[in-house]
């Protein structure tokens, strides 16, 4: 196991009376692609800015490769940032932008020209050295920002929603490129985003944040398959939250009664008896004839979504269920109003803490 690149301990950040970070502790490994994911206002950007040194911690500690950096200004921290809107200096050429960090570190002219040239080559922009940022497209600006932040050779690179200003196609291409770059350079990437698909495709590990707190930290698969609470289940991907009645917990398992009476044995923490919710992903539900399966519902409508179809059904108790059906051009879908049964696949339902 590699040493920790960044360790955050009990970080609290207050703006006046407003709590932006409410006691976050986190350890980010060396060489890892780590993503801070959450809705706007969850504190993910604040955490990134605290690591960069643009904000002062209210309390807590931040260490970088074992060194306490909480009181250092940004120019004395060996981390660099790719800003959300790139913040390329508009009055400098692309080359001067990329060489800026090297210049500030006292690297000589010839050497910084050479290094900046290398960086531009790496991001495929060698022909653009003499241009000004305003003369570049959004994607090109994004690459310059990346080259500029990598030029001084940081051990940790911070990326603040760097893809949010690009259009969809470019964003998808950049995801692959960023991931490849991270693997090739071996630099620790700390990536902030509100886009869960982006987080799932690129990250080694993801920290899901909400209301200034960490909700769950884990590999993409873990976060998606085993959300620890309602917020994570709801925020990552699409899910059905079904109210259930949990019986006595024994040996880490409990009988969970679904609406309609079917009972599942699910993993449960001690003391979680009573009314709760289970999360059931729409792609883990299978249509069955009426009466079959663990749940029954009436079809309300079918929404055409291209690669798949979304079937909206209502359970007897009133709750809505979404079922994803692969679009294989079959014509035997139940018509609206039809009663159907729904089969839960193995491990489809997960009991959530509220």
């Amino acid at each position: 196991m590699a040493e920790a690149a960044v360790v955050v301990r009990d970080a609290v950040k207050l703006y006046g009376g407003v709590v932006a970070l409410d006691g976050v502790s986190l350890s980010i490994r060396d060489n890892e692609f780590f993503t801070l994911l959450g809705p706007s206002g969850c504190g993910k950007t604040t955490l990134l800015r605290l690591i960069a040194g643009f904000e002062r911690l209210t309390s807590g500690a931040i260490a970088l490769h074992g060194q306490d950096i909480a009181d250092l200004p940004p120019d004395r921290r060996p981390v660099n940032t790719v800003f959300q809107h790139y913040a390329l200096f508009p009055h400098m050429t692309v080359l001067d932008n990329v060489a800026f960090g090297l210049k500030m570190r006292g690297v000589g002219l010839a050497e910084r020209r050479r290094r900046a040239g290398e960086m531009l080559e790496m991001v495929h922009l060698s022909g653009f050295a003499g241009r000004f940022p305003a003369q570049l497209s959004g994607g090109q600006q994004q690459r310059v920002a990346l080259a500029r932040a990598l030029a001084p050779g940081p051990r940790v690179l911070l990326l603040d929603e760097p893809l949010s200003a690009l259009d969809l196609k470019l964003r998808q291409a950049m995801r692959v490129e960023l991931k490849t770059l991270q693997e090739e350079t071996g630099i620790t990437f700390i990536f902030v985003t509100h886009d869960q698909e982006e987080a799932l495709t690129m990250s080694d590990r993801i920290a899901v944040m909400s209301a200034g707190r960490l909700q769950q930290v884990g590999a993409p698969r873990e976060i998606y398959e085993e959300p620890v609470n309602r917020f994570v289940a709801d925020f990552i991907g699409e899910t059905n939250l079904v109210p259930v009645e949990v019986g006595a917990v024994a040996g880490g398992l409990a009988p969970v009664a679904l609406p309609g009476g079917a009972v599942l044995q699910l993993a449960a923490a001690p003391g979680s008896e009573g009314r709760h919710h289970v999360s059931i992903r729409p792609e883990r539900l299978r249509l069955a004839p009426s009466g079959a399966g663990q749940l029954s519902a009436r079809v309300e409508r079918i929404i055409y979504k291209g690669t798949d179809l979304q079937l909206v059904a209502r359970m007897a108790g009133g709750g809505e269920l979404h079922v994803r059906i692969q679009n294989t051009a079959r014509a035997d879908l139940p018509p609206p109003g039809a009663e159907v049964g729904l089969v839960l696949g193995e491990g489809a339902a997960r009991l959530l803490a509220d």
Partner: protein
């Protein structure tokens, strides 16, 4: 989500760790210069208004209410009659208020359509128009007033043109009349009215007018019911920017008006001219003028606050 929130306690710099806060040292020069050379002088002016008149200008450092007494009370020629309300100076203030108010109204009537017209031009000609309206604001006020004086003299180009056109036989006297002062104030401060209204109309969402028209309002009803309420902050700012300098105007009444158009500015100026002046009285008149302006500003601030809540 970026950057600054309120810093608890006293002034401090951006919240970058390890940086010494610089807010105080950066503000100090501005505080010092305006504090020492404007706030202290205004305070001193208030003190002077309660002192005794010196023999040849200046003051004697003895407390006296004579300046305010002279302004408000008439005690007869020898000062031994029972005091009555003195009308002379109140009349000067009244005339100034009236002139300033009328000038503000004229500027609004001409300025609003102008600002609207400019703001609805295509982007290119809009900049050109705004530029043309701004230029006179940069031209020396004295020169502009002198030009006007030249233009409306009895033998000036305006009268010459009127006679040549056969509209009048003899020159019409315009100089040294209330009309000339009005023209002067209007001409001096019109850009102050146009620019804030222009800025407000430029931000106005014309879809609101379209919605009003769609719901059956005529363009004039839409103007009254939708446009004016929307651009009101610009209108109020413009009115204030015209009214305040008009109230204390000195050049327009002095160069264009006559004895009958005596305004506050001239009244104050006279008190500090040569050895005949009366400094405490001049200070008192200034204090009264400043109080009126502060009332207008307070009204404006309350209006803004209400606007902000709405």
């Amino acid at each position: 989500m970026a950057a600054a929130g309120p810093a608890p306690g006293a002034a401090r710099g951006p919240a970058v760790p390890g940086d010494r806060p610089l807010t105080l040292p950066l503000l100090l020069p501005a505080w010092a210069v305006i504090g020492v050379f404007l706030v202290v002088p205004v305070g001193l002016m208030v003190v002077y208004s309660f002192l005794t008149q010196g023999f040849r200008g200046g003051v004697i450092w003895e407390f006296s209410l004579a300046a305010y007494d002279r302004f408000f009370l008439d005690r007869g020629l020898f000062g031994d009659e029972p005091p009555r309300l003195e009308w002379t100076y109140i009349a000067v203030f009244w005339r100034s208020l009236w002139q300033a108010g009328l000038a503000t109204l004229t500027c609004l009537i001409v300025g609003f359509p102008t600002a609207w017209f400019i703001a609805t031009r295509p982007a290119r000609s809009r900049t050109a128009w705004a530029f043309l309206i701004t230029v006179p604001y940069w031209v020396n006020l004295l020169i502009r007033t002198v030009s006007l004086r030249f233009l409306i003299r009895d033998q000036g180009p305006v009268n010459q043109a009127l006679i040549a056109l056969g509209l009048t036989d003899a020159p019409i006297q315009m100089l040294n009349t209330d009309f000339a002062v009005q023209l002067g104030l209007f001409y001096s401060y019109l850009p102050f009215m146009v620019l804030p209204i222009y800025a407000a109309v430029e931000r106005y969402d014309f879809a609101l007018s379209e919605a009003a028209a769609d719901l059956g309002a005529s363009r004039w009803v839409a103007l009254r019911e939708v446009v004016i309420p929307s651009v009101r902050p610009g209108i109020v700012a413009g009115c204030l920017l015209v009214f305040i300098p008009s109230l204390g105007a000195f050049l327009a009444p002095d160069l264009l008006g006559g004895a009958k158009t005596y305004m506050i500015g001239s009244l104050i100026e006279d008190q500090f001219k040569g050895s005949l002046g009366n400094w405490p009285f001049g200070a008192a008149v200034s204090v009264i003028l400043l109080s009126m302006v502060l009332v207008a500003l307070l009204f404006y601030a309350r209006n803004q606050a209400r606007e902000g809540r709405a």
